[in-house]
Symmetry: C2
Subunit: 463 residues, 2 copies
Amino acid sequence: MSSAAVSSAVSYARENQKRFLDELKDLLRIPSVSTTEEHKDDVRKAAEMVAADLKRIGFENVEIIATKAHPLVYGDWLHAAGKPTALCYAHFDVQPAEPLDEWHTPPWEPTERNQNIYARGAVDDKGQLWMQMKAYESLFKAGGGKLPINVRVLFEGEEEVGGESIEEFVKANATTGKLKADFALVTDTELFAPDLPTLCVGLRGLVYTELEAQGAKTDLHSGVYGGAAPNAIFGLVEILSKLKDADGKVLIPGFYDDVQKPTADELKAWEHLPFNEEDYRKAEVGSNVLTGEPGYSVLYRTWARPTLEVHGIVGGFQAPGAKTVIPARGSAKVSMRLVPNQDADDIFKKYSDYVKKITPKGIQTNIKILSKGPACVVNTDNPYARASVEAMHEIFGKDTVYIRSGGSIPIVTQFDKDLKIPSIMMGMGLPDDNLHAPNEKFHIPNFYRGIESIIRFFQILGQ
Amino acid sequence: MSSAAVSSAVSYARENQKRFLDELKDLLRIPSVSTTEEHKDDVRKAAEMVAADLKRIGFENVEIIATKAHPLVYGDWLHAAGKPTALCYAHFDVQPAEPLDEWHTPPWEPTERNQNIYARGAVDDKGQLWMQMKAYESLFKAGGGKLPINVRVLFEGEEEVGGESIEEFVKANATTGKLKADFALVTDTELFAPDLPTLCVGLRGLVYTELEAQGAKTDLHSGVYGGAAPNAIFGLVEILSKLKDADGKVLIPGFYDDVQKPTADELKAWEHLPFNEEDYRKAEVGSNVLTGEPGYSVLYRTWARPTLEVHGIVGGFQAPGAKTVIPARGSAKVSMRLVPNQDADDIFKKYSDYVKKITPKGIQTNIKILSKGPACVVNTDNPYARASVEAMHEIFGKDTVYIRSGGSIPIVTQFDKDLKIPSIMMGMGLPDDNLHAPNEKFHIPNFYRGIESIIRFFQILGQ
């Protein structure tokens, strides 16, 4: 983009980069972890900071909407008569920071290193939420208090725990007009590679459960009772080992029945993406080998094949040293990523039925569902997708690639289903940003390019 | 036993029952957990209390012997010329009290209920140690400062973590004369049934390990990397599931090669023991079914068959709620109980080799050995076993039964091997005493009968 063509909004954004980053740091210092009860107030604090800034920069009808769990933040500016309306989504809650001892700098004290900002939530999703906010501020400032299109923002505080409240809110307002829009802007995904503008057009769904096993009434001496008493951890291990084989194939009967394959065109496009499996293995995964189903490429396996993972396990004696007990209880967190056409309720039922069937004698199991949502693929044949591609071409100087993500953003599916609008997933993360892991980061130039891309995206739509 | 035949030592013991029990409570209040570093000073405090009482009641050469880990306590009285010498063993360390919330009364505040004393270590083994101490006090008092036989006491503070220090001490003093004795008295086992005098003549050995698994370099997002990255917990689960089948058969190649069967006579005697499998299942194990190898009785399975158990497992995200990580690390505590003729080093090697072989791709494993010791069967064809049977017949009014224990007391094997002396395992625990579990207890009448049985045992040997 030539400097002559730089809009005054983009100029404003460039002049205020340092302040924008400082504000983001303030947001990152709030440990707004939605998965644990103890941080409930912090999630609220993050909501309040976001709502206050929405008001300050020019939004109207700003409100913090109470829910059964964590609040939503809403605001709008709807005075661009005849122009399209955007529904803009991001989330201000974050994953837990544990394991803390693996962070090089504290997760709640944002630290700049090598043009990155390190903190829990840097890229997922506070950095990308603030990227939207600062685009709107720049547009308001350059437009004399006006935006080039109509904008509704709807930010949530429980994306990391399944987003039940926003789901109910969207459902309740699908016909009230409160969320009426032509398209959604979602900034919670990533670029396929540094400097490569990317639109994400597919997401996996998720069924996340907790599986508990109980054996004897209490822990027993393993010398005295070893050979006669059921062992809850061993029972749990037996069950888990039968959920997936060594090649990553899920063994739940009927699990793959409804899996929809990507189109031949999509598969072909993936083959042309700049992807080096060896670099990915070393730099991103950091393991001596990649795993997963044979016969599928890495992108196919992680974007368009359903998977099953154990996220955590606990039971029995865990302190240092030796304690000779037969544990009475154990539990594991188990989730399944779903692909298009798999139904979350159906998969949960198949999983529950199978666990019941393979539970060994002497063991009782109990399954709790912690979150669920289906996969989705979004349509890009619309003026909004085309405008976003044009905007990113200006800012990055390159053509956009279309990818999927293996992660889950249930709200995108719901925007499609309940509001009948397409989502533009214009994320600015990077593959090595360590999201959900220690040392999460956001590449600072991408924060700035994201702001400018959104400015130009909305300016193009408002022409 | 008729009251006319009650010795003055027994009378003294009966008159002082309340004080003896109060002293035991003081010992039980010391949280002398040997398995965790934080209670090192408490183990020492317990040693000091025991040593002080040994001196007070009349023992000579009392010393607290420092070791690399927890101290030993030694004392002797060797002036019964021409009489046998006993080497008397018990331990003053205890298992951890966790899980704390399952205790009805605090583990470190001894509480009397229904003629039982509840506390961690009540029966294993502080109550049984103090039972010895109070028998010696009674004998010293009634004998005018003399014992009927020569006595060396050797108490340890790390039985629950493998007893490495006492092993080295016994090895070092096998030929110095410091531990010269005709037999050993060991009070760390149980009666087969309430009111049924019991000699334990066999113990299982133990190999206790910690198995660690590592996958990717760090925890990864399960959406983004699920289908390509190795999962350390799933790797651990795969390994554990292949160690033992659903029937309890250990799958390690060569594991059963050296197993020595009990004699036909011993097996026959076990069939005549008062044992109700249904009561055992309900009251002791507290499960809806008993598990273990088909074709073997419960007593056979728990006394004379080797077994494998997982004691604890931990890895990944364990807090409440959902975190979508592929965990990089997981670990489990795994032990094997051994039977006569199995070699602990050989079994550890077979286990390690097998784990290495079945470790899935993408996973690295590391095995630490936390303790090990072989099984043993002791000979009862000697005057010491006969005297103990006679003494218990007097006190209980019943014939003694001979049993094995599924637990492990490595020192018994070593007394046999290094000192060439038989052990008289005259324990007074009960099958439902919850040792190593919450609500551990000691039946108070058995504390008193144990004191009296030891008094009469030594008096008979000194006649």
